[in-house]
């Protein structure tokens, strides 16, 4: 286990709230269906802000919450699959907005879909030591890759960003687990820019997010359970002893099935997907920050963050606060 602490956290969502009733007007769906199958009631969707802007607002909140200044940060990792550009990275543009371009900072993005924030924390933990203070962000503007006429996907997702400040600290420790298994079958994918038309006779377009919901469900429930067991290996802690589990906020049905399978009460699981929907790499980061704001995370507590997503990817972080 590593002696690392989370010095602060913060989150941000865009201004426009879309309810299930709003979606009833645009696709053939109902509040009743969405609530029963997913637990989601509202999601926030961006009209003016892009990923850099959301990520930066979450970062500013986390920096304030930690009581540090941007100049203290020397590592920025952003987990996203909806960066505003292929390059420069979201992390570099957030560095600029934070006004620390002249400082010695390493900044880069990673993509592990909805597991991105877990992966980013894992990477930061391995780099802390050489670096002193990491700003780890999960930020997404998923609305730009959602087909808003496809009821299979548009009811599930939202935009937002969350951030934490990680630094070496004697009081708390963490353990990490991550896994991936490549899947090119299209179970969960959003295609990128296709090959150049001069080389291949195809158009330069980006694809929307496509998903085989049932197959993803099967993967998700197994991924959560496996990740929790793996991350606790060697910690001497059992799932029953965990005070709070913060899972990726994809679907309440996934979480309640896992809770039942593992024999854990639903009260152990932090849920905010009813308000924000699935915000991919931002989801666990937003949930952590919100749980901390609500006073649900206290010194001495044992916490597990657990994620799964396209790739396939999955992973977990154990934190003894």
């Amino acid at each position: 286990m590593k002696n690392i602490e989370i010095a602060g956290s913060g989150y941000a969502v865009p201004g426009r709230c879309i309810t299930n009733h709003d979606l009833e007007k645009t696709v053939d769906t109902s509040d009743e269906w969405i609530t029963a199958r997913t637990g989601i009631s509202t999601r926030y969707v961006s009209e003016t802000e892009n990923t850099v802007s959301l990520g930066c607002r979450a970062a500013v909140n986390a920096i304030a919450n930690a009581g540090i200044t941007p100049a203290d940060i020397d590592l920025i990792i952003v987990a996203t699959m909806t960066g505003d550009n292929l390059t420069p990275s979201t992390a570099c543009l957030i560095q600029e907005k934070l006004g620390i371009n002249s400082r010695h900072v390493m900044a880069f993005d990673i993509n592990a879909a909805c597991s991105g924030f877990i992966y980013a924390m894992h990477i930061a933990s391995a780099m802390l030591g050489q670096y002193r203070c990491a700003l780890v962000i999960g930020a997404e503007t998923l609305s730009k890759i959602i087909d808003w006429t496809d009821r299979n996907t548009c009811v599930l997702f939202g935009d937002g960003a969350g951030a934490v400040i990680m630094r070496p600290g004697e009081k708390s420790h963490m353990a990490f687990y991550a896994d991936s298994a490549g899947d090119s079958s299209g179970t969960l994918q959003a295609t990128g820019p296709l090959l150049h038309p001069a080389l291949e006779n195809c158009q330069r377009t980006f694809g929307y997010l496509h998903m085989d919901g049932k197959e993803v469900f099967r993967f998700a429930v197994k991924a959560i359970e496996d990740s929790i067991h793996h991350v606790l290996e060697g910690t001497g802690v059992t799932p029953e002893e965990i005070d709070l589990i913060i899972p990726h906020q994809a679907n309440i049905r996934i979480i309640s099935y896992v809770a039942r399978k593992m024999g854990l009460p639903m009260e152990k699981f932090f849920i905010n997907l009813d308000t924000f929907g699935n915000t991919s790499a931002a989801s666990i980061a937003i949930a952590f920050a919100q749980a901390q704001q609500q006073g649900l995370i206290r010194p001495g507590m044992k916490i597990v963050l657990v994620g799964f997503g396209a790739g396939f990817t999955n992973g977990a972080v154990y934190i003894r606060m």
């Binding site: 029963a36 199958r37 085989d212 049932k214 197959e215 469900f217 099967r218 429930v221 049905r253 099935y257």
Partner: protein, 75 residues
Amino acid sequence: MLEQVKKVIMDAISVEEELITPQARLSEDLGIDSLSAVELSLELETEFDIRIEDEEISALVTVQDILDLVNSKKQ
């Protein structure tokens, strides 16, 4: 077999035992929606060591259909 399937159904969803008869309709009588059916198939896969495809899940209407499916897979 019915007893074993009954137990799986009761583990997967909260429904009273006497409601689970071979004639019972999964959706109308037992309140099993499309996602509960996926959950149920995961449980059946573990219990009987079989693999159930999505199309086979969608085709299930009654408890008897589950019994038939499991029986055919076990052979």
